[in-house]
């Protein structure tokens, strides 16, 4: 196996935290997205989607999509459970993972990629160019703040997003909160549950991954 990684991007960080929680080490290659290494011919040939993270399996299959990589690693190494154990817990992990992605991470990406000069014509990652749409900057920030309100609500009265056990939903939500620094959005003082939970995630060794 070989992991295509970039240390400064949020989605690869999710995979690295997941691996750290499982105690896994996988040889990795850094693709420096800031220097445009994803556009280089060799990488494009290996990974036509031109995105990281991506996991190359020994049979030549290339897995893209953060959660597909995490599911693969989970199927091979089920302990500790990071996708939930009971049916209800599994569903709540999936629900919160989606909310963190579709509202939080998508909003933050929207705000960043439609504003920063380095993303001109690269408003969406991947092989195709998409023009920046300035109206998405404010909308993205509003979506991130809306996600913080939902997150605060979800964490009220319980240690972790899916209940008693730390899960991949906590990883994604934590990465959203950390990544939102890049769009100058952070949880507010009223988000007391987020503050408590964030400190608890940050104290886990995987947070350094």
């Amino acid at each position: 196996m070989k992991l295509y990684d970039f240390v400064l991007a949020p989605n690869p960080r999710r995979v690295r935290m997941f691996m750290a929680e499982k105690g896994l080490e996988i040889p990795s290659v850094q693709i420096n997205l800031r220097q445009g290494e994803q556009f280089e011919a060799q990488f494009k040939q290996d990974n036509p989607g031109m995105i990281v993270p991506a996991l190359l399996l020994d049979d030549g299959t290339l897995l893209t999509e953060t959660m597909a990589i995490c599911r693969y690693l989970d199927a091979l190494h089920p302990t500790p459970a990071l996708f939930g154990s009971t049916p209800k817990e599994q569903a709540l992990v999936e629900m919160w993972s989606r909310r963190a992605e579709l509202e939080g991470l998508a909003g933050a990406a929207e705000a960043l990629r439609n504003a920063a000069p380095r993303f001109v014509n690269r408003a969406i990652p991947g092989p195709r160019d998409y023009a920046q749409i300035p109206a998405l900057v404010e909308r993205g920030k509003a979506r991130v703040q809306a996600f913080f309100d939902d997150l605060e609500n979800g964490l009220s009265g319980q240690a972790w997003l899916a209940g008693e056990h730390f899960s991949v939903a906590d990883i994604t939500a934590f990465v959203v909160v950390e990544f939102a620094v890049n769009i100058e959005e952070q949880p507010a003082a009223r988000h007391v549950h987020i503050a408590r939970w964030r400190a608890a995630v940050a104290a886990r060794p995987s947070a350094a991954a």
Copy 2:
């Protein structure tokens, strides 16, 4: 259990097809989104996210997010496997489900909700208002066409998206293709693998769900 459903919306259709493949029947309530029933006080109280599909469990937990509902039902009724069996198949199901959602379904929703008068200030579903952004209409259509190209590629040389077995990824991709009629986008004549696969999905009894 009680399923909040709306027969004309794409995400509830994914859940209904999933249930039909599993042979499950769950009492459901229609929430007519075209008539604004999601904004009515009772529904808002039961489901603060104001979205369908949503599954109310007997203990009062409300599951939102299509894939969270499907994961829950799958954990209770694992046969037939619709999330893949081997680690690799599970990963490919997740990868293609995400592509179908994040590129196909998101693109189609973007094109529809930023254009149609009934979605003024409702460019994103849920409890918060978001203004329409006209530039997203063309971008959404372009993303759907990009997804069709990826889908064609993914189906080349294999029966189903994750390989030999029908999965939830096929359900989502099929619903995208069918739903794209609403934004006047359809696969092209060159998409021969999509045409063959689409006919095969349409022939399954679940396609009528």
